[in-house]
Subunit: 345 residues, 3 copies
């Protein structure tokens, strides 16, 4: 992929690693995608915050604004060491692009695999005034071409964020959670799930706002339960579509994370996940939709080979429409993967 | 209360203590009732398991069968040390009664308060055969009267467990979780909440079954969110009605914990909580109701004085019926408290 | 200090880092010494296990055998990033010496400080046979002198471990935890504390044995409670004496961690901590003393300056004897610090 330019001497790169424990994984020992997303975001937050504070002036915290589409190339297991390395690859006036690579290491056999590559966008908020976005110190690029490519990525994601914001505006209506057990197997209603979580201090940055990684971990948890309820086998995260973080979520909020299946191909399931924040005490502010995303899951047998997925039974026009949209996303990303494969040959 | 008799030399009593951390408490610093319930159960499980293994024979683990009604006498705060001490007070052929006392200690001022007293019943299950209940070694009582009193408590709880089992049988229908935001404030539907949780390894005993304390912590979490949504102030657990654990919940299950408000007095709210277990992969076993309980919450101002609670708006006959039942429980426990007060004078 | 030699290409060095969260710190925001000890041990375990598996043969896990005396040079705070880097500095036939450096980074100001340096000894146990110690592949030294120095450190620690083992043998009698509240302030009995913890799956290595870091974190927690009870101010870990891990502790054990103050100087307190393991289910194996150590704490005011410590009130000959021994350790380490200081000038 692209190589990162030299950033300023004070904020070059960062490496996070830790041993995967039973609590990071499902019963079969596969590490949850959410565990990895959380580590990725922690690395991004450290390097982004560090970079944005390299100049004198207002102290600030880098808040996650967007994660580009991410593929989970190989499963990771309990006892392996996850290495997450992050570096800054582009800066605009008010945002920072961070490239992250995740490597799994089996310390018993020495085997290593790149399991993920991710691109995150951060925006710095002042510690004095939470609503003020501060300026980002520019990085140095090793050549003008690199800067040009970064600018293109910046423009592309900006456009997409705008579009999603509008779409989200429409979808303010919450997911209805009908009585699951009255539903037939393989319908959308049957596997639909939601959880609530009270945001505690350890979920938050110095601002008292939720770390993006915490939110992504909960989203993956719900998506995983939806997938498991649908196919009743061992399931793992295969990819996450671009996620936009439109509004911040504060300490003391209750968040509702809901997931519903939108599409199934022969060997994959797409699950749409919504995050709604409810500022319990400052209730005058009202509940709001904070994040939405699409997670793709696959089903694995005991040898970690992918299994066929039971097709989704659709009920009503809306579910049909969402299925078609999911299919379009599926075909688009499949075409993109093929194109990249050819390019690399 | 009653003093515990001398148990066998190997399993006399146990003390757990730990400092309360930010994640144990709400934003205002009040430790969650669920945190304390979980510690109480950990102490009970240790002393119960230790006692049941004092004789040679099958190794076993003590599983929580029932918790008697528990009052939270004073709030506990971050930075305080919670001391939980447990001792065995009665044994039947197949069950163990454990008495637990919780003390809060402010290690800076030295101030100490008894915050809870609880009574738990455990049943030992064989490690070889999860469905086999093993025999409990008898304890020695300091006098025959103590044994007699214990036997009475044993008979009383046995009766009640039978009754609840039957009642639960009827109520198999799950709580409907309607679209909250279409609901008017102060109605039952408005504050109704539920969460799902995938049972991980750290939630479980050596058997791979959920610790009763983990379940109680999640139940308290949901009840707390229902209470906060209703009155939008700082709320704390005031008491928990007797809880019966009818069926075990296994690692890998998804549990749905749902809460709805059933009754409000001037200064308290009663919330009914349901726990349903869904053995994802072994789906043929089907979803089942595992636990139900009533939690009572009060609302506090900034000086930790209790505030009036907005009355519950009832809709329909069922809600009216549940409100009347809640009122009966409220009046009964109020009468009991008064009686105990007089007795102590 | 000493610089580490080049180890084999496959196991060069490792860096762990993460942001310090509210639960890692006390109320004032000072990160617990135990949090840092746990991270140090995780880094050591990764690099040790990785190195011991660089040769084909039995797969093994490196288990912590000993931590050399460690000083906490500066306090760390919530929001800072802790960087822990580890490398192998010596190998004998059956053990690995790991050097660890901890750096705190304030990502807002860019300030960095070395907060700790630690030396750990690991022994590799076979995954097939838990009681079999495997052979350690040798590292390459950049010069013969380095190897010679390593050998001296190895011999010295070996001798000390033998001695402690014998001493431990005698002290099998557990700390009695008398009714603290009947004790006068500033006596040993007044601040004496203990906690118990049921070892869960996430506390353990692939073997099902407790990570040394988990044990050290609990030891620091108890020592901190003892120190806070004695002086009722904000306290932080100043140093930990050499810790020997004589016997492994298995999943499902209950451990009791007890602490008592042994010595006070003008500005420091020494606390002796015992870890006793109780294999609940396999009760025939009996309870045993697994680890002992001395922690030194200091008391800080609001500007993080050290405060005078109230002198310990001694009762009886034994306490007097322990106090004298503590004083000897105190004077010895003071003399050593001075000598090192002079050497560095």
């Amino acid at each position: 992929m692209m190589s990162a330019p030299n950033s300023e001497s004070t904020s070059p790169s960062i490496q996070i690693c830790r041993i995967m424990r039973p609590d990071d994984a499902n019963i079969v020992g596969n590490v949850h995608g959410g565990t990895i997303l959380k580590m990725i975001e922690e690395a991004g937050c450290i390097i982004g915050t560090r970079h944005c504070n390299t100049r004198s002036g207002d102290r600030c915290v880098a808040a996650l604004a967007r994660v580009e589409r991410t593929d989970f190339l190989y499963p990771m297991f309990i006892g392996e060491v996850a290495h997450v390395s992050a570096e800054i690859s582009y800066t605009s006036k008010h945002s920072v692009e961070v490239q992250v690579t995740v490597l799994s290491e089996n310390i018993l056999t020495g085997a290593k695999k790149v399991t993920n590559k991710a691109t995150l966008w951060y925006v710095p908020f002042s510690l004095q005034n939470v609503d003020k976005i501060t300026e980002v110190p520019p990085i140095e690029y090793s050549n003008p071409e690199q800067e040009e490519l970064g600018k293109k990525r910046y423009e592309a994601q900006k456009l997409e964020r705008m579009e999603t914001k509008e779409r989200n505006g429409e979808v303010i209506a919450a997911v209805s959670v009908p009585e699951r057990h009255t539903k037939e197997p393989y319908t959308v209603g049957f596997s639909q799930s939601s959880l609530i979580h009270l945001i505690g201090p350890s979920d938050c940055t110095l601002h008292g706002f939720v770390h993006g990684g915490v939110t992504m971990k909960l989203m993956d948890e719900v998506a995983g339960i939806v997938a498991a309820r649908h196919c009743k086998t061992n399931i793992v995260t295969a990819s996450v579509d671009a996620i936009n973080f439109h509004r911040k979520i504060k300490k003391g909020c209750v968040i509702t994370v809901s997931g519903r299946m939108t599409f199934t191909s022969n060997k994959s399931m797409e699950i749409e996940v919504f995050v709604d924040a409810d500022p319990l005490v400052e209730a005058e502010k009202g509940k709001y939709r904070a994040v939405t995303a699409f997670f793709t899951y696959i089903s694995l047998d005991k040898e970690n080979k992918s299994l066929p997925v039971p097709p989704l039974k659709l009920e009503g026009e809306e579910e049909q429409k969402r299925f078609e949209e999911g299919k379009a996303r599926y075909l688009q990303s499949k075409a993109k993967r093929l194109a990249e494969k050819e390019q690399n040959q």
